[in-house]
Amino acid sequence: MKKLINKPDDVVTEALQGLAAAHADLVRVQFNPNVIVRADAPVQGKVGLVSGGGSGHEPMHGGFVGLGMLDAACPGEVFTSPTPDQMLDATKAVNGGAGVLHIVKNYTGDVMNFEMAADLAGGENIEVEAVVIDDDVAVQDSLYTAGRRGVGTTVLAEKICGAAAEEGRSLAEVAELCRKVNANGRSMGMALTSCIVPAAGKPTFELGDDEMEIGIGIHGEPGRERVKLAPAGEIVERLTAPIVEDLPFEQGDQVLAFVNGMGGTPLIELYLVYNDLNRFLGERGITITRNLVGPYITSLEMAGCSITLLRLDDELTRLWDAPVKTAGLRWAT
């Protein structure tokens, strides 16, 4: 295991200490239970936005705490959803009287822990709504299963809902918007290499030198299929065709295209992928009007990428463009 760490058990704590030291202007970090809170929380009268999940996906979620995005993030152990007490503390810390929205990625653990936290918050008379993001088309959707995973659309939902909350919209409105983003966003990812969970010390899965995993999640969960390595153009097609078919995205649609790096893939490759994506969509009459290219929802040092498309309308576009000031995303402020 080759990592820049000290002890595997201390990775999350030490990284949080680093984050706290680096971004004291943006966030406060509370330890045990671990919560990253916007420096000026609670913002009175504003709906508070809380998300969280396992660590190892940085900058998500801690890097998205700040003006125009999240009010708090709950970092769990690596790839392990955080606990209800973290979420409860976060919820209390950001409640400015207008209620709190929990943005939850659809993993059994995340969902159950957030549910327990919402119950606890309810007991303290804080109004909480939860929206579950489940945008990963690699997973068969079904009422009888856990359903789809939440992946790339989460980042977009946090940004867009953060802007709406900043505008003073009500909890119900922000939650509704979050559901709208989820309804219009679809993702799929792939891996060239495995990641290594520090506490496990070895790769979660083994891939041959000429293999890749298509439809992978963000925790090294096996994907939809393991196939021979292919050129980027083909990979883009394999990821994007199911995305486009699923919603479906149609000729004339305007989209936000998000090419996400899994952590171990350099930016030069992501731009190359973006180029292939741009061509693929162009051929189908789908226009990219906004984009995001970079490692934003990662899986430790996994090499690979995911593609997320979000169908835009004027409202979503405007909220995407609104000011944001976080460690991970920052513009127009």
Binding site: N113, M116, T145, A146, T204
Partner: protein, 229 residues
């Protein structure tokens, strides 16, 4: 200190005291520690490779917690503490599920300082109900439920047929073991393994495996060791 429960057990009459329950919890923690690698390995195959790590982190926190909680005799309170500690230290799916399991057990025997075999059966019943309420899993979904339900049913059936508590515990653990093994061919419908669809078949469910350890620890602590397998 004379171990009352040991004496009673030898005499055939069944009653679990606070210390007995504590011994079971310690035994479970020891099983988790000993099987941490295996649980993680199983979870790597169809999940995210942290089940052993998570459960081990949770159970060591539990040990610290119960050691710090000095004199106490309310078994219900003990179990609730275990549950709450798991909820706040495990995270993932395991945290709420095992947390709920112990908390519901605690509620079922709230205030009791001694448990009869029926109390234990009731506690296990409550545990399973709680886990199902929390996780919405049905038998055959390839989850811990697939070890817990056979374990609960075997215990109830054995007791109903007049078996000794020791025998009933052994049958419960063995049924959980079988249930765990039976998860291998299943296609997961709940939890992280469900994302794999058909690819989840052919692997044993990690949560069912840890749940078997839980019931096996009870059988070994309060009853008899199982046959070496």
């Amino acid at each position: 200190m004379v171990d009352v429960a040991e004496t009673e057990k030898a005499s055939g009459r069944m009653s679990l005291g606070h210390d007995d329950v504590l011994r079971w919890i310690r035994a479970f923690a020891a099983e988790v520690e000993a099987n941490k690698e295996q649980l993680t390995q199983l979870d790597s195959a169809i999940g995210d490779g942290d089940h052993g790590i998570n459960m081990q982190r949770g159970m060591s926190a539990v040990l610290v917690k119960v050691d710090a909680t000095g004199e106490e005799s309310d078994i219900g309170a003990l179990l609730k503490t275990v549950g709450m500690t798991l909820v706040s230290t495990v995270g993932g799916a395991g945290g709420p599920l095992y947390g709920t399991l112990f908390m519901q057990m605690g509620m079922a025997v709230s205030g009791k300082e001694e448990l009869s075999s029926d109390d234990w059966a009731a506690a296990l019943e409550a545990a399973v109900t709680g886990v199902q309420a929390r996780g919405k899993a049905e038998p055959g979904d390839k989850t811990m439920i697939d070890a817990l339900i056979p374990g609960r049913d075997a215990l109830k059936a054995a007791l109903a047929e007049g078996a000794t508590f020791e025998d009933a515990l052994r049958q419960s653990a063995d049924a959980a073991d079988q249930g765990m093994r039976d998860t291998v061919p299943l296609v997961a419908r709940k939890g992280r393994a469900s994302y794999l669809g058909e690819r989840s078949a052919g692997h044993q469910d990690p949560g069912a495996t840890s749940s078997h350890l839980l019931l096996e620890a009870a059988a070994e602590t309060w009853g008899r060791p199982g046959q070496a397998r």
